[in-house]
Each structure stands twice: as structure tokens, then as C-alpha cells.
């Protein structure tokens, strides 16, 4: 009870005390919220970088931003978006929800959890410190300019002088250790702390997907850390891992990086799958179709995605047999992914659809992830990849899956669970503005990139010559980028407005069925006054409908 009292009194205490409460907190809900705020912050930073990139590409032969700064911009943009926007947002949402969904009071290791958050944040701070070092203040000189994948030998001491690459290594590896603590916590929490009666095949699908997600983090992040350590040794101790002149291999970096990098894209998209699997049933008023196949498909993805990394390396000229294997394995991943899309559609089919904002985001996710998935299959076809790899087609593909897929769903999750976390509803009207501006802007921005890519526009070029048919598509893209930036503004306005004067949400505004809605909004620091016993996959439905509970059928 002492915890509860201190939690309540902080609401009326002076700002310093409140801040102190946040900084020292070990409550999974507060840590979750801090992760999400961190993600919002870096979303603005990374977004500004993206807008600068798009402004530079507005007209041919533009001189707005020089080539050096351009290289730094896309490096920082990519690194920021992946490590400091999508990762913290999914970590935050999972941190907030998993203990509530499985009906327990906190994660397994609360202090480790806090450590993880601060490591992630410090990682981001370290990365951005590069802008304040050396000659950086004159023309932002020292930011890394090696791409988010930091290919050797661009990162070797000979090509990357100064500290820029070191900031990249330190920033991403520190936040990577943060991600590891998150994964350790999540696995232990989900496996051992479920509410009485809740079997592993009764947890919400979001929890299932986060369990696989944590597993992927556990096996994919350490190889990146190891590779980064080797790189540091190359740079400062005279080692030769990635130095072809002394027998080392630049390809080894690519293998190690993509052994992390490919699972990482699934680490970023599985939480999105999980969120969609919670939102679609509730707003279709139907049980999710094919729960077991959904969980099994996730596990299959968790395994297969570890064996396809070299599909990012078709153009380096691997052995044909290797190409064939990695191509086939990549096709294989489309099967479990297809099962999921099928199940979501089947859940929608015949449902009483309620078009609230979270549902819109879920449907937006579905359509755009579908496009991204299809272009993924195209890219996994070796000859097609040889043609369009490293062109804007590739940029279009991964933005459709990462932004249109992952980030869209995560934002939808923010709409869905915001009432739980704050006790206030977000405005539907502003939400609609947010969604439609984002959706239209997004497709204007990334849709044309398929075309400019097929027309031969390479990625990472800072400008292009007139007369190649690229101007029009680039201008559409740039317009789309600004529409999208505008849309995100509505997101933040919506949050601010609702925090000040939003409608009261109540415990269960969406009439949902999972345990997080069984407690008050926002939940007390101990989560549940009484831990509920669970008998089916929809414990709250059972409570609301004692005359027709699920456990009679399961």
C-alpha cells in the first residue's frame, strides 16, 4: 500500500519532486511511457533530417545541402529511426502492456528495466553528441556518414577519420545492451509471472509476439555488439577483421551486420503484428481467427528470419548456390506472414466493424504492409534484386514495411491504449486528421519511389541531373513528405489537447476483452487490486458475460 500512496501523492507535489519520481522510477508503466516519450523526441529529430533530405532532392542539381552533409543526414536519419524511434516505441508499448495483459504487478526485474531505459536514452544522446565535437559546429562536420549499416571499409581508420564512426558504434551498442535487458526481462516475465490459470496458449497474441520478439533480440543483438567490438579493435588496436589489405574481409562485416539486420526488421514488425491482432478483433467484435496458427506462424518467423540475412547481399556477388538458398528461404517467410494476413482478414470478414482511429491505423497497416511484403518478395528474387537493389525501389520497400507497417501499427497502438495510460480519450476528429494526412502523405512520399527506383535512380545520391524522368517523382515525394510531417503534428496536438481537456475514458472504453482493461485507467502502481484467475483467452469477456463465457468452449 505504501507504494500506492506515494504514487498518488506525487500528482500534487512540486515539479521537482515529480521529476525525481520519474527519474528514479522502477514502475514498468512509467518506464514504458518514458520510452515512448523518448521515441517521440527522436521522431521529431529524425523527421527533420528526413525533410532536409527531401528538400535537397526537390529539384535537380540542388545545392541546398552539400554532399558531405547529405551523407551524414541519411546516416543519422536511418540510425535514429531504427534504433531510437521504432525500437523505443515498441519497447515502451510492450513494457507498459505485457504485465497488465498477463495480470501481474510488474516485470520480472524492475531495476534492470529502468537500467535498460536509461541505456537506450544514453545511446541516443551519445550518437547525437557527435554534432558537438571537434570541428562539428562549423558545418556539422563530425556526424557519421557511413549509412545506418556502417559498411566496411567505409568505417576503417583510413576512410573514417575522426570520431564520427565511434559515436555511431557507441550509441548503437549502448542502446543495444538496453534492448537486451528488455528482452531478458520480457522472457522471464511472460514465462513465469502469468496470472493464475493463464496458460501460455491463453495469453493475448500481443504477448506471444513479444515473446518471440524478445527471443530474436536475444540472438540477434549480441552478434552486432560483437561485430562492433571487432570494428573498434580494427580502428584502435590495429586488428584486421574488416581490412582487406591485411587479409581481412569487408564482407564479414556485411554478414555479421545483416545477421543482426534482418532479424532486426522482424523485431520491429512483430510488435506491430501483435498490436494489430489486439485491435482488429475488438473493433470487429469477433474473436481473432486462428489463434494457434497465429502463434505458430510467429514462432516460424522467429526461426526462419535467422536464416535469410544474405538476401541483403545478392549484389556483392556471392556464390550462385548461396543466392539460390537465401532467395528460397526468403520466399519461405512469406508463408507464415501470409497466414497472418489471412487470419486478420478472416477476423474482419463478417465482423461488425467500428471505424475508430485505432481501427483505421490497423487497416492502414494491413494495406501498406501488404505492399511492402510483396515488394519484399520481388527483391528476394535474385535477378530482380540485381536490377533494383540500391535504387529507390529498395527505399520504397523498406519504408512500406517499416513506416507503413511497423510505425503505423505502433501509432495505432498509441491510440488504442492511450485511454488506459492516461485516463483520457484522444480526439477522434484530430485522430482522423492525423490518420488521413499520414496515410496520403505516406503514399505520395514512398509510392513514387517505386517508379523512380525502376527508372534507375540510385539510393543515397545527393542530387541528380535533369532530363532522366526523375524530377516529377521526386517532387511528388517531397510534397508527400511535408504532408506527412504535418500529419504527425496533428498527433502531438491531439495528445496535448487530450491531456488537458480530453474526455474521461473509464476503465474499458472500447469494450475489450483482455486483462489490461480490467483495472482502472490509469492503473494504480500495483496494477491490480486483486489478481484475477484466468480460464480462457478472453478473461474480461468471461467476467462480462457469465451466462456465456468462453471457457465453456475452449
Amino acid at each position: 500500500m505504501a507504494i500506492a500512496e506515494s504514487g498518488q501523492s506525487s500528482a500534487s507535489s512540486p515539479l521537482v519532486t515529480q521529476l525525481h519520481g520519474w527519474v528514479t522510477t522502477v514502475d514498468h508503466k512509467r518506464i514504458g511511457i518514458m520510452y515512448i516519450l523518448m521515441s517521440f523526441f527522436f521522431m521529431v529529430v529524425g523527421g527533420i533530417e528526413a525533410l532536409l533530405i527531401r528538400m535537397q532532392l526537390w529539384v535537380p542539381d540542388n545545392t541546398l545541402i552539400g554532399p558531405d552533409t547529405f551523407n551524414q543526414l541519411f546516416t543519422m536519419h536511418g540510425t535514429t529511426m531504427i534504433f531510437f524511434v521504432v525500437m523505443p516505441m515498441l519497447t515502451g508499448i510492450a513494457n507498459y502492456l505485457v504485465p497488465l495483459m498477463i495480470g501481474c504487478r510488474d516485470v520480472a526485474f524492475p531495476r534492470l528495466n529502468a537500467l535498460g531505459f536509461w541505456l537506450s536514452l544514453f545511446g541516443g544522446c551519445i550518437l547525437y553528441t557527435c554534432y558537438f565535437t571537434g570541428d562539428a559546429l562549423y558545418g556539422l562536420g563530425s556526424a557519421p556518414d557511413v549509412g545506418w549499416f556502417a559498411y566496411a571499409p567505409l568505417t576503417s581508420p583510413a576512410y573514417a577519420r575522426g570520431g564520427a564512426v565511434d559515436y555511431w558504434i557507441l550509441g548503437t551498442s549502448v542502446s543495444g545492451v538496453g534492448a537486451l535487458t528488455f528482452a531478458v526481462n520480457l522472457v522471464a516475465t511472460i514465462l513465469t509471472m502469468r496470472a493464475p490459470g493463464m496458460k501460455l496458449n491463453q495469453v493475448p497474441l500481443f504477448v506471444w509476439m513479444m515473446l518471440i520478439d524478445a527471443w530474436l533480440i536475444l540472438v540477434a543483438f549480441p552478434p552486432l555488439t560483437a561485430a562492433q567490438i571487432m570494428l573498434i579493435l580494427d580502428r584502435y588496436a590495429g586488428a584486421h577483421f574488416f581490412d582487406p589489405q591485411s587479409g581481412g574481409s569487408a564482407l564479414l562485416w556485411q554478414h555479421l551486420f545483416w545477421f543482426f539486420g534482418h532479424p532486426e526488421v522482424y523485431i520491429m514488425v512483430l510488435p506491430a503484428f501483435g498490436i494489430i491482432s489486439e485491435i482488429i478483433p475488438v473493433f470487429s467484435r469477433k474473436v481473432i481467427f486462428g489463434y494457434a496458427s497465429m502463434a505458430a506462424a510467429t514462432a516460424a518467423i522467429g526461426l526462419i528470419s535467422l536464416g535469410v540475412w544474405a538476401h541483403h547481399m545478392f549484389t556483392v556477388g556471392l556464390d550462385d548456390r548461396l543466392d539460390a538458398y537465401f532467395s528460397a528461404a526468403s520466399f519461405l517467410i512469406a508463408i507464415p506472414t501470409g497466414i497472418k494476413v489471412f487470419n486478420w482478414t478472416a477476423t474482419l470478414y463478417g465482423g461488425r466493424l467500428q471505424m475508430r482511429t485505432p481501427m483505421l491505423f490497423a487497416l492502414g497497416f494491413l494495406s501498406m504492409f501488404l505492399i511492402g511484403g510483396l515488394t519484399g518478395i520481388m527483391l528476394a528474387t535474385v535477378p530482380v534484386d540485381w536490377q533494383v537493389s540500391d535504387s529507390y525501389f529498395l527505399v520504397a520497400h523498406f519504408h512500406y514495411v517499416l513506416f507503413g507497417g511497423s510505425l503505423f501499427a505502433l501509432m495505432g497502438g498509441c491510440y488504442y491504449w492511450f485511454p488506459k495510460a492516461t485516463g483520457k480519450m484522444l480526439s477522434e476528429k484530430l485522430g482522423l486528421w492525423h490518420f488521413w494526412l499520414l496515410f496520403i502523405g505516406f503514399n505520395l512520399l514512398f509510392g513514387p519511389m517505386h517508379i523512380s527506383g525502376i527508372l534507375g535512380m540510385p539510393r543515397r545520391v545527393y542530387t541528380y541531373q535533369a532530363g532522366q524522368g526523375w524530377e516529377f517523382w521526386n517532387q511528388v515525394s517531397t510534397v508527400g513528405a511535408f504532408i506527412m510531417g504535418f500529419g504527425i503534428l496533428f498527433f502531438f496536438i491531439n495528445i496535448a489537447v487530450s491531456l488537458r481537456s480530453g474526455k474521461k475514458a473509464g476503465d474499458d472504453p472500447w469494450d475489450a476483452w483482455t486483462l489490461e482493461w480490467a483495472t482502472s485507467s490509469p492503473p494504480p502502481s500495483y496494477n491490480f487490486e486483486q489478481i484475477l484467475a484466468v480460464r480462457s483467452r478472453r478473461p474480461l469477456w468471461d467476467l462480462k458475460h457469465p451466462e456465456d463465457p468462453d471457457w465453456k468452449y475452449e
Binding site: L191, M193, P223, G238, A239, L252, L256, A533
Partner: protein, 203 residues
């Protein structure tokens, strides 16, 4: 009124047990060791990829000594046995036995580190093998260095555990000593792989 009687009054079916065979702390440690395994696999694979690639010497066959490695391995593998005895004593509530076996474990660990230091000294000063000399040096010192680093961390943990246990700071139910022993066994298992890949294959 207890919860289950309330449920019975409502005629709800009894909840089935959802117990997981491991405790929370054990799962946490196991998950962490999974990530450690991924880390070491990366280093081992990198070692293997470059094995025999660089003929500029010194090569493993020229500079590594199997006898030296076997003696050194005996220390570390032995310490896995002694820490098991320490844990058994702890279960049998014998603080004396626990302390003695922990002390032996720590001593063996330290001897292993001394052995590594001796090996490195010979490699560096006699054979001229350094991290920048050739690819073998690069991969060898990275792999062995990180293993030795883990042994060092393990020794610190073992010392802390022993002191705290002797000071009576752990309850009999505390899992900390047990989990640290898991870590120690893991470091040992990694060494077995290293022994096979580096010393046995190399000489």
C-alpha cells in the same frame, strides 16, 4: 473469504495450474546466457572463417602449445566441479564446506588467468604474435581476450557471493549463488568449444 471459495460459489471451473518449471530468476539467467552464447558464437565463427587464411605467421601450429592449453583447461574445468561441490554443501547447510569449495573454485579460476597471462607473454614476447601482427593474432586475442574477461567478471561475482554468504546476507532460499554457478559453468562450456576450435584444431 478466499478467492477460490468465491469462485466455487459462482460455480466456476477450477483454474488449472500455469506453473513454469523454472523460477523467474532462473529464466532471466538462462535468457542472458542465450545472448552470451550468441555473442561467443560470433567470435568463434569469425575465428574459424580466418583460420588458415593468413600464412604470414606465426600460425597456430607454430605458436600454440597443446600441453600448455591442457594444463590451463584442467584448472578451469576442475573449477566447474568444485563449484558444484560448493553448491551441494550449501544445500546441505554447511557454510564451512561452501566456503572451502568456493575458495578452491576461485583459486582455480585465478590460476587459469595466470596461465593465460603466461601464454600471452610467451606469444607476444617470444613469437611476436600481437593483435595487429596477422589475422590469427587478431582473431585469437579477441576470442581468448573476451573469454578471459568473462572469467574475470565471474571471479568477481564468485568473491562477492562468498563474502555475502559468509556474512549471512543470503537466506537459504536465495538463488543468487546457484545462478552465479550457472554463469561459471557457461564460461566453462565456452572454453571447451574454444579448446576444440583453437587449440585442438590448431595444433
Amino acid at each position: 473469504m478466499s478467492k477460490s471459495t468465491a469462485d466455487e460459489a459462482l460455480e466456476l471451473p477450477p483454474v488449472e495450474s500455469s506453473e513454469f518449471p523454472l523460477t523467474t530468476a532462473q529464466v532471466g539467467m538462462a535468457a542472458f546466457l542465450c545472448s552470451e552464447a550468441a555473442f561467443f558464437s560470433t567470435l568463434v565463427v569469425s575465428y574459424l572463417i580466418y583460420l588458415g587464411q593468413d600464412q604470414s605467421g606465426p600460425t597456430p601450429a607454430e605458436s600454440l602449445s597443446l600441453t600448455r592449453a591442457v594444463i590451463n583447461s584442467a584448472f578451469l574445468l576442475g573449477s566447474s566441479g568444485t563449484i558444484m561441490l560448493a553448491m551441494n554443501s550449501r544445500k546441505a547447510n554447511s557454510l564451512g564446506g561452501f566456503s572451502v569449495w568456493m575458495f578452491v573454485t576461485i583459486a582455480l579460476g585465478v590460476m587459469f588467468l595466470v596461465g593465460t597471462a603466461y601464454e600471452w607473454e610467451e606469444l607476444i614476447y617470444k613469437d611476436g604474435l600481437t593483435i595487429s601482427r596477422n589475422l590469427f593474432g587478431t582473431t585469437f586475442f579477441t576470442l581468448i581476450g573476451f573469454h578471459a574477461f568473462h572469467v574475470t567478471i565471474g571471479l568477481v561475482l564468485l568473491t562477492i557471493i562468498t563474502c555475502l554468504e559468509r556474512a549471512g546476507r543470503f537466506s537459504a532460499k536465495s538463488e543468487a549463488p546457484e545462478l552465479v554457478s550457472w554463469y561459471w559453468h557457461f564460461v566453462d562450456a565456452v572454453w571447451i568449444v574454444i579448446f576444440g576450435v583453437v587449440y585442438w584444431m590448431g595444433t
